[in-house]
């Protein structure tokens, strides 16, 4: 049997507390992919959580039309808190990438078959001006380690799609993307 998901399709999962901006970062990636001419789907979490739980979403970027929009074994998992780490660390596909907000997650992955990036995103974002940009730090890192899209696409998507009421945060978000990328490049 073939590996049916070759390089045509990359599945991202973003997961964290409500309020950490995981939905938005997943959508931003989707906008970036769409603008760059990829097929893309974004779906919010489906889970039994009711109030105040963990939020997650899946963004799939693909050169071919996307059948199933689900990702039980993502190529890239970006986890912003401990419950998300516990949930997604074992699910990342072999050879995949796990990006961990190490400022809030004390554990580290022991898996050998995936790449793990521990990034103190909340701390980095706080230093840049607001903890709320931690999501962008992690996206910057993820796209640098797994260049399914050029980072520039994320920058332009920010420009084009950041909702009007948040445009004051534009510079911060740009900086956060770059800061996340920088951490990865430094470590190379």
């Amino acid at each position: 049997m073939n590996n049916h998901n070759g390089n045509d399709r990359t599945e991202f999962v973003f997961s964290g507390f409500g309020g950490q901006g995981v939905m938005f970062v997943g959508q931003l990636l989707a906008y970036a992919a769409m603008d760059a001419g990829f097929n893309v789907t974004w779906i919010p979490s489906y889970g039994p959580e009711m109030r105040g739980g963990t939020a997650h979403c899946t963004t799939i970027v693909s050169r071919k039309p996307i059948g199933s929009p689900m990702s039980p074994r993502p190529h890239v998992a970006v986890v912003l808190n401990l419950p998300s780490f516990t949930r997604y660390e074992p699910l990342v596909r072999e050879e995949g990438l796990l990006v961990v907000n190490s400022a809030l997650v004390s554990l580290t992955s022991h898996r050998q078959d995936i790449q793990t990036l521990d990034i103190p995103a909340t701390t980095i974002a706080e230093n840049l001006g607001s903890v709320r940009a931690a999501n962008m730090v992690l996206l910057g890192a993820a796209l640098t380690a797994k260049p399914a899209l050029p980072l520039a696409a994320a920058h332009s998507a920010l420009e084009a799609h950041l909702p009007p009421q948040h445009r004051s945060l534009l510079a911060l978000n740009h900086a956060a993307l770059d800061a996340g990328a920088a951490v990865v490049l430094e470590r190379l």
Binding site: M50, R51, G52
Partner: protein
């Protein structure tokens, strides 16, 4: 700190609650309403005699949170379900626990007819002026100009009417023996709410008719406030629209609450 051994335990988690952690958002007064109801059942020694009907709404899991026999009604139909139970088990205590979307919107027919029949059930009506579970849509109880996800520029009373005051309406029905409104926004009011719940259940036990305690409650999540601010909002905005008080206390019920 004084060693606990020398102290007397004056308050503990009531037996009528299970050990489960609830799914309610932090600071949501659904939790307070649960606690009061559980305490009341403990005090009246009714835990083993009670059947709780949970609503569809944030309290959908209530049947898991209470250490009682329970069932889960269809949205708005808890009073009909409770009627079915009570008619078969007239000597048991039958409770419905309902939100304002559940009771005042889709379920208004069932609550009115249960009250009109004088059905000997007790309803805990948690009025938080919004649909919590589905993410903050307007309820018939939402305040004028209240912003909700289905009235994003604020409730327009010209298009949707004034807030529905259920207790006032049910009070017109002879079958309603005890219908009062209390609030959960501070300890003093919580104490009064507890007393009302005790009375309401006793009204049922004596077969005096339908009883309901409306509780003004918070939804910090969908109101977009901290839990503490939400309590203040109840005081500052809800009390004037929903005055606290005893809307119907039948003569027989009055003896009880005295």
């Amino acid at each position: 700190m004084i060693p606990a051994a020398e102290l007397e335990r004056v308050y503990e988690r009531p037996e009528s609650l299970t050990a489960l952690h609830t799914n309610y958002c932090p600071g949501c007064t659904h939790g307070v309403a649960h606690r009061l109801l559980a305490e009341a059942l403990d005090e009246l020694d009714l835990r083993e005699q009670t059947i709780l009907v949970a609503p569809v709404g944030c309290a959908v899991f209530a049947y898991e949170y209470f250490n009682l026999d329970g069932c889960e009604a269809a949205h708005g139909r808890a009073p009909a379900m409770a009627t079915g139970i009570k008619r078969l088990l007239p000597d048991r205590t039958v409770l419905t626990y309902q939100g304002d979307g559940d009771l005042a919107s889709i379920g208004i027919a069932e609550i009115i007819h249960a009250a009109a029949r004088g059905e000997a059930i007790t309803t805990i009506f948690v009025n938080n002026a919004i649909y919590g579970m589905t993410g903050g849509q307007m309820a018939p109880t939402s305040l004028p100009n209240q912003r909700t996800t289905s009235s994003p520029s604020g409730r327009d009373v010209a298009l949707t009417g004034q807030p529905l005051r259920v207790s006032e309406m049910l009070a017109t029905l002879p079958g309603a023996a005890y219908v009062v409104r209390r609030s959960l926004h501070d300890p003093a009011n919580i104490r009064k709410a507890k007393k009302a719940i005790l009375t309401a259940i006793q009204v049922q036990q004596r077969g005096l008719g339908f009883s309901m305690v409306e509780l003004l409650s918070t939804c910090p999540t969908n109101w977009g406030m901290t839990p503490a601010d939400a309590l203040t909002w109840v005081k500052d905005h809800m009390l004037s629209i929903y005055p606290l008080g005893d809307y119907k206390v039948s003569d027989a019920a009055r003896e009880l609450s005295a």
